[in-house]
Amino acid sequence: MHSDILISQSDGRPMYLQIMEQIKQRVAVGEWAPGEEIPSIRQLAVSLSVSVITVKRAYLELEREGVILTQQGKGSIVAPNPNLAPRLFHEEFSEHLEQVARLGDLLGLSSDEIAHRTKEASNRLIEARYTKETL
């Protein structure tokens, strides 16, 4: 049920963020339904070969964001109305935007040019997704 979560060591982000992201995706596409029981922290840690403390942290953050509910001694479930607007992703997004602005400035791009390039990147993603779906 959960063995296909993949942790990448070359992904620069901390492991707990990777686990969070993949659980959210699972909830978003409905593989893990609202109210459904999810693996215990220890079970998931063992199946991912990742330390218990890392999975615990991912679960704590997911709970804080309202994606899952953990009951003491009873395990965790997907929240009845999971909140998938992720605070941490917003933070990460803002950080990346600042990097874009800074690098754009280093390259001497105007803010219109930076905006244009961002739009292009976003279009490419939509196109790629579309081709994938039609294949």
Binding site: Q9, P14, R42, Q43, A45, S49, V52, I53, T54
Partner: protein, 298 residues
Amino acid sequence: MNHLSVQFKGVSKKYTHFALENIDLELPTGSIMGFIGANGAGKSTTIRILMGLVHQDQGSVQVLGHPMPSDQAAAKLDIGFVSEDMRLYGPATLAWHMDFLRPIYPRWDQSYADKLVQRFDLKPQQKIKGLSHGQRVKAALLLALARRPRLLVLDEPTTGLDPVARHEVLQELMAVLADEDRTILFSSHNTLDVEQISDQITFIDRGRIIDSDNKEAFLDRWRRLRLLLPPDTVLPRLPGVVEVGGSGRLPVLTTNRFEPAMVSACNDLGATVQAVDTMTLEEIFVANVHCRRERLTA
């Protein structure tokens, strides 16, 4: 039940050319500790004291509630120990070793041993002297695991293993932790292995513990800040910064007590914070050792 499987208090041991000084160590039951140090830092000496193989000059050691070394016979029934210099008997087979150990340890689990033979891809009828290094390590680990010990102590279990074998070993160590009453201490100089599976991390250098914390706290505390300074400014010493590298106008600060307020503090000094980078455990270890050694020689 004791919630600490291992507890060192003020443990010291002096040799002519090396001293272990004032070691404090706590390992909560149900967790994995990665014990990291350079060669000769004192990892193996600490582990030998834990096992009662070397007696400390000072300080107390409790393992699974037993004082060491005085109560080592009782403690050892519950400890599985694998180290590099521990030899299996070359002319005998793995099956012979299993038959030898089975009657000694009451909790020996033969069906688990059989499963491990499969998972580790070992041949029970093959003589130990014909095994590769990786197979020998896996055989020794199998013999320790099948006893179902409450505490596993592994000195460099992944050193010299190929990637596939390393992966199998790490996976099997995590499987042990599915049981909340089991605890693992393993030493390594491979920070990648430690980073992946450890709950607790302890750094040792030149016979002293230089840092010990849970892994998430470790990774959260350490950051690198890349700054851009206006011309002709000198950066004052900032609290929590352990190392300043980079060049004059592009300094790179390394901190072990990162908090977001640091970024605003830099901005207030007229600096632009270009990036706040997370660090890998390896970078943290190296930075930690450097700044500690510098402080000692200063």
